[in-house]
């Protein structure tokens, strides 16, 4: 937490008024949701499937370098679409209102090693409820990194630039491990917990299927192109992982984003909850294509305010949300992707070392962090 609370100038009434104004923005979109939105997601899903099919088809001939290049690029984009604009958003329930059982958060499964069910729990329930609350929101550094001065430094953190890089390369496995709370659950006693074992089994099944598809079946189908296809799928997964990791890092890690203490969310009002989402998230600026490829998580602030609004609406919502930031004199953290990625990585490096100057800590707060 920064030394000066950037929301200190707001009165309690103002915070509640802000909450009402945000509710009004939300209601407006919900009242207007309709056929155009449904057409949008159907079109995206259909485009993703066609792109994946064509790319996999081209990769059957990946022994020829141009085919390898085109197929790998296509498959990378298809995988990114599947994860971001489609998977992430459907699993948030953004499209449940269509009542189409094929495009519903309870039935959707994505091309990712973390099963939908587990991801929905750790992401939708825990991360989105307790956004940026130290000790409650494990997305803060994914339990392997220190991303705020207030988190206790440990020599383990010296290696965090490396952990972060490896996490980026194998991000989907990192997420699966994270959803399983592997660090906590690998302790001898917890390992035997039947509930954990069932979840671990589900992840195992999912990994087996995905690996079999990407690294055995499709290469085998390619015959003489076996190895190039294997390399192509590996590359596509790598590209997808690094891309999604970068986008996700930009959501909560760049400089200017606030983190919160456990105590601060006790008895939080709707207005205060909104305010925490506003202060705890950061956007990426850019073109329509950029917003699309990030699954509209470039509108992370809007997404955190309204996680269940259809993603194609975040751009128009952002204009109104930004006006509220200005009205209430709050900082809207945003910037182009390279700048935000740099900022987030810079923080990872900086916090791998202990704090330069010890922050002023109240005894209470110290206790809080140790308890966390």
């Amino acid at each position: 937490m920064t030394a000066i609370d950037p929301t200190v100038h707001l009165t309690a009434e103002q915070v509640e008024e802000l909450g009402r104004e945000l509710d009004a923005i939300r209601d407006e979109v919900i009242a207007d949701r309709g056929e155009k939105d449904a057409d949008y997601i159907r079109k995206v899903i259909s485009a993703q499937r066609k792109l994946e099919l064509v790319s996999r088809g081209v990769l059957l001939f990946s022994i020829f370098p141009p085919a390898w290049l085109i197929g790998t690029a296509g498959l990378s984009v298809a995988k990114i679409m599947d994860n971001m604009e489609i998977g992430h958003n459907i699993l948030h329930g953004q499209w449940d209102w269509m009542r189409d059982p094929k495009i519903h958060s309870t039935t959707w499964e994505w091309d990712h090693v973390s099963p939908s069910e587990q991801w929905k729990h750790s992401h939708n329930e825990l991360h989105h409820t307790y956004t940026n609350v130290i000790g409650k929101d494990n997305d803060l550094g994914y339990g392997i990194m220190r991303v705020d001065e207030d988190q206790k430094w440990h020599p383990f953190h010296l290696g965090q630039p490396l952990w972060n890089f490896l996490n980026a390369c194998f991000f989907e496995y990192g997420i699966a491990a994270y959803d399983l709370e592997l660090g906590k659950n690998l302790h001898k006693r917890r390992r035997k917990n039947p509930e954990f074992r069932a979840r671990a089994k589900a992840v195992g099944r999912k990994i087996r299927k995905q690996v079999l598809k990407d690294y055995v079946i499709h290469p085998l189908l390619s015959g003489p192109s076996f190895l190039p296809t294997l390399g192509a799928t590996f590359t596509a997964n790598l590209v997808r992982n690094i891309w999604t990791h970068s986008v996700i890092m930009c959501g909560h890690f760049p400089e200017g984003v606030q983190v919160f203490e456990r105590r601060s969310i006790k008895g939080e009002t709707r207005g205060q909850w909104y305010l925490r989402q506003m202060m705890g998230s950061a956007n990426i600026s850019g073109s329509k294509a950029m917003h699309f490829m990030t699954g509209n998580l470039s509108h992370q602030i809007e997404h955190h305010l309204f996680p269940d609004l259809p993603s194609n609406r975040y751009a128009e919502v952002a204009v109104k949300v930004r006006a509220l930031f200005e009205k209430y004199e709050l900082e809207y953290v945003t910037g182009p992707l390279p700048k935000q990625v740099f900022s987030a990585w810079h923080k990872v490096f900086r916090l791998s070392l202990p704090n330069k100057k010890p922050t002023v800590k109240t005894p209470n707060r110290e206790k809080e962090l140790v308890a966390a």
Binding site: E35, D37, A38, R99, T106, W110, D111, K209
Partner: protein, 352 residues
Amino acid sequence: MTSTALRSRAWKLLEMVTTPLLPSDYLDLVSPLRAGADLRGRIEAVRPETGDAATIVIRPGQGWRGHTAGQYVRIGVDVDGVRLWRAYSITSPTHRQDGRVTITVKAIPDGKVSNHLVRRAKPGTLIQLDQPTGDFVLPQAKPAKVLYLTAGSGITPVMGMLRDTEFDDVVMVHCAPQPQDVIFRNELHELVADKKLRLTEVHTDTDGMLDIARLDELVPDWAERETWACGPSGLLDAAEEHWTERGVQERLHTERFRPSIVVAGDGGGEVTFSSTGKTVDADGATPLLDIGEEAGVLMPSGCRMGICFGCVTPLKAGAVRDLRTGEITEAEPGVLIQTCVSAAAGPCDIER
């Protein structure tokens, strides 16, 4: 290895290729009406019948098993992006050469699906279909004398029968506000001209509602006729009473389109959708189907009037009230409730 076993092996392999999607997810892109796909249909034409009714010509998918005259079909239509299911009687004859089926829809005030189908549906649109069902049908042995007693869109299942089967002696009494509101009027009058039908039109705007006692005068031998009646609850209630009084109730067959909803007393309560983990407050008058859908739970649904059982869901705890009869159902192992005509009667737990 048998060919079936071989095919199922091949399919399993194909599933490994497409995981986590299914091969059908890709096949649906190119051939949504193929055999083996979820049953769908394509709207091929929308033909106006009256000012507020239209016939929808549907090409069903290859899995369509065909219907019996008088049956209805549930269709799922996307209205403003939201998939809504309704049931409509099939109006085409069973022997239609081109394999198409038709439903005839009357736009009812505030009816989301009916207004959409009559006024906005476009040829080429895919809709979801169920297999036809319903027992408002003719018996195997053709009855010698038949009476059709219909009102409004209640004529639709009867038209399916009239187009399908010829009778030696058939009388129809049909009620509609004005002559131009009579659906299929031209076709009915052609049948009359060919002496295939005796028809009495009751125009309720000028003649007033049909008094069931007038049947003695309109169709003196009504009690000897095998009768099929379809229309609003008021008409059907009166008919059932009339036939029962004369002790000929076994000759009367009725079909109700809309449930007659009794005004629920107080009640309601907290409803838990346990599989989804959602808990919401419900009043005692709103169907649990609507409550669930409002809360974002993917509820199975069907006719929304208590006839198709497409919405049945286990009631795990608590009690619900049947909105049509006021009857209370309490949770017990194996108890299924129709969520479209049941409301919370106190706190309850729905497995969804």
